[in-house]
């Protein structure tokens, strides 16, 4: 990871925009319900969660109505999980580009990471509508929300670089990914609040950077307790993953065109 790599990335920022724009445009162009899918997916997951975990299992929700509690986490989670599966395949699915044109290869996972934000925004608008419905007023901590969004984007990009680069050489990634995402959902405080867990488990949970991001995002919007200890660990893990992802990507990107 050096200066040249970053400056070249910046030089090609316009292509990044076009690639992200293409991803978004193509995603909705043929779907009859179009952008509604950005809401349908988290909405129905929320309904299922509310029925099974909120009502039947009686999982606590930090005093927030359970539907709002889970939806507030599902919006960033949906972004994260669908971005990983898109970006993880981005180099392989764009093989014709990789083998025929030169551009910084990291643009491809980056474009998926950016393109996913459109869905995230649509989901957020729906989230605000739900907050109004449940009469939940956010406090000053709302101003911190963009920080958590940024952290989430950075984390998605870091892991995407790792997965996309590995996927070029080992197509196992494609098969492992849905499984990893499924497990990851349960070890992230989406269905349950962090306070639901015994203190011992909480330390392990902190190693999952999505835990801090989702808890933080929820605390910003719903004024629940902000667990700064958890957030700090998440920031540290995210930065570590970013450096690891960038190093691995850079070490392997020269071979992409030969083996993809």
């Amino acid at each position: 990871m050096n200066y040249e790599w970053i400056s070249e990335f910046w030089h090609f920022r316009e292509l990044l925009y076009f690639l992200a724009w293409r991803d978004v445009k193509v995603r909705y162009k043929q779907a009859a319900l179009g952008a509604a899918w950005a809401i349908i997916q988290p909405l129905f997951t929320m309904i299922i969660f509310t029925l099974f975990f909120g009502r039947l299992a009686g999982v606590p929700s930090d005093g927030i109505p359970y539907p709002l509690f889970s939806f507030c986490a599902l919006v960033p989670w949906t972004y994260f999980s669908s971005t990983l599966s898109q970006a993880g395949n981005s180099l392989v699915s764009n093989a014709p580009l990789v083998t025929k044109v030169y551009f910084p290869r990291a643009l491809l996972p980056a474009a998926s990471v950016l393109g996913g934000l459109v869905d995230f925004l649509i989901g957020s608008v729906f989230l605000i509508m739900m907050m109004i419905y449940y009469r939940v007023k956010p406090g000053w901590s709302l101003l911190l929300a963009p920080f958590f969004v940024l952290l989430m984007v950075l984390l998605a990009f870091s892991i995407s670089m790792l997965l996309a680069a590995m996927n070029v050489r080992y197509r196992d990634v494609k098969y492992a990914l849905p499984f990893i995402i499924q497990i990851w959902l349960f070890i992230t405080p989406i269905i349950y609040p962090v306070t639901f867990l015994p203190a011992k488990l909480k330390h392990f949970l902190a190693l999952n950077p999505m835990a801090g991001i989702i808890e933080g995002f929820r605390a910003c919007l719903l004024s629940t307790h902000m667990d700064w200890g958890l957030v700090r660990v998440s920031i540290a893990v995210t930065l570590t993953l970013f450096i690891a992802g960038a190093i691995y990507f850079r070490a392997t990107e020269r071979t992409f065109a030969d083996i993809v």
């Binding site: 316009e14 292509l15 076009f18 690639l19 293409r22 445009k25 193509v26 162009k29 043929q30 014709p96 580009l97 990789v98 083998t99 025929k100 044109v101 030169y102 551009f103 050489r169 080992y170 197509r171 196992d172 020269r254 071979t255 065109a257 030969d258 083996i259």
Partner: protein, 446 residues
């Protein structure tokens, strides 16, 4: 490596001892972690890249290209031409050696890279333009001109999945033609598209050349290379075989084809054949009418194909047949003794041959494949061998015009004449205002 300090660059490209190695194992498409683990368990200490699996796509290639030169790169398929272009375009990296390229590079290894079926023509122009390195404002400024160049004015807002393949090509090339680079790198773009499209491509490159740009292009179209290029490089088996004036290099290159031409094939050892085997082909020869073995077969030639056979026992009423296919597998012709109503009551046991005397081979230059068959009276197949011999047809001046036809002109030509009597006015070659093919069918009525 040589000194890197020489920064005096009237050179657009400097390639220095360039080599590119592929380890064949890693070329496999579906690389799985499992295989890697298994091989690691089996032989944990063996180095994975043994020499047997190594393929040198390029080896020790060095050359320089000055600014303003137009260089054609020729060579057989798999010789390493495309690998060279990919390295120059930074798509892939050399295993050793150095490459330096100066100026704004546009590299066109494929027409319409990154086109998306669902997007409209206009959207694809933006996308493709930015993929090829144009800035957004640049595309915007040139949009109208690109659309006009491609001739798709009426369909700009139609998804390109509704485009014909010709429209798609034109659109892709139109974007590339507006790149305005210092150095243009083009891979065999001329191999696709119709004559009009190819004309456009050539005109564009001609324009770049007269604009003083550096162009590097790979082509199998020798006429185009000779016309456009100031210099030609021939790459053979990963090495630079010859570098010089297009005429010299092309001549030397074409001569190797004549040498490799097989005008004789032994069919005795062919395993992949069907039939009873009572009578079988044993060989083919291409002979001049005077009887000696031909060295080359050219468009418009008269010659004899001799098919040798061996009969295990007497065979009643066999038919000898031949099918000619293009390199892409299109059947050009199926002919046989049966078609000519030649009944052979009995072929005695032993060796013999039948001749197919060709008055005029009206195939255009290219490689063709022959399949041979023999059937019996109640039509059991005695022998059938698919694609068992090659017929390499070389360039010839079939219209006596000095303008050679090549494989891009189609598959066949036919005796013909253009008559310009209806044009009127002054015509340049004033002899009779009529052209005719040199080729004469014997037995043609005067």
């Amino acid at each position: 490596m040589e000194s890197k300090t020489n920064h005096v660059m009237s050179e657009a490209i400097i390639v220095d001892k360039l080599s590119k190695k592929y380890v064949l194992g890693t070329l496999q498409r579906d690389t799985m972690l499992r295989e890697r683990l298994i091989s690691l368990l089996r032989a944990p200490f063996r180095k994975r890249s043994d020499a047997a699996n190594t393929l040198w796509a390029l080896r020790d290639v060095s050359f320089r290209v000055s600014k303003g030169e137009v260089v054609g790169i020729i060579g057989r398929n798999g010789a390493g031409k495309s690998t060279l272009l990919k390295i120059l375009s930074k798509i892939t990296y050399p295993s050793s050696g150095q490459v330096r390229v100066q100026g704004r590079v546009a590299s066109l290894l494929e027409v319409g890279t990154g086109f998306h079926e669902e997007l409209t023509g206009r959207e694809n122009i933006y996308l493709n333009g930015s993929i090829l390195g144009m800035k957004g404002w640049e595309v915007e400024a040139k949009l109208e001109s690109i659309v006009k160049f491609a001739g798709v004015e009426r369909f700009v807002d139609t998804p390109i999945k509704r485009y014909s393949s010709g429209m798609r090509l034109r659109l892709g090339f139109a974007v590339a033609a507006h790149l305005d680079p210092d150095l243009l790198i083009v891979d065999e773009v001329l191999a696709v598209g119709d004559a009009g499209f190819q004309r456009k491509c050539l005109d564009t490159m001609e324009g770049l050349r007269s604009g003083g740009r550096t162009v590097l292009f790979v082509s199998h179209n020798m006429a185009a290379v000779e016309n456009l290029c100031s210099r030609c490089i021939w790459i053979e088996a990963g090495q630079l075989k010859m570098d010089g004036s297009p005429r010299d290099v092309i001549e030397a290159y074409m001569a190797t084809f004549a040498a490799a031409q097989e005008t004789m094939a032994d069919l005795r050892s062919v395993q992949n054949r069907r039939g009873t085997g009572e009578i079988r082909y044993t060989g083919i020869e291409y002979l001049a009418r005077s009887g000696e073995l031909l060295t080359t077969v050219r468009s418009g030639d008269s010659f004899v194909m001799r098919f040798h056979y061996h009969a295990e026992k007497p065979v009643p009423f066999p038919s000898f047949g031949l099918r000619i296919y293009t390199e892409l597998g299109t059947l050009v012709s199926d002919t046989s003794t049966w078609h000519h109503a030649l009944d052979i009551p009995l072929v005695p046991a032993g060796d013999g041959y039948v001749d197919l005397d060709i008055d005029l081979l009206n195939l255009l230059p290219g490689r063709y494949y022959l399949s041979l068959w023999i059937t019996g009276a109640s039509s059991p197949v005695h022998d059938n061998i698919e694609h068992c011999a090659q017929l390499q047809v070389e360039l010839a001046n079939v219209y006596s015009s000095g303008r050679a036809l090549d494989s891009r002109s189609g598959i066949v030509f036919f005796p013909q004449r253009w008559n310009l009597a209806g044009v009127g006015g002054e015509l340049a070659p004033s002899e009779g205002q009529e052209t005719r093919s040199d080729a004469q069918f014997p037995g043609k009525r005067a």
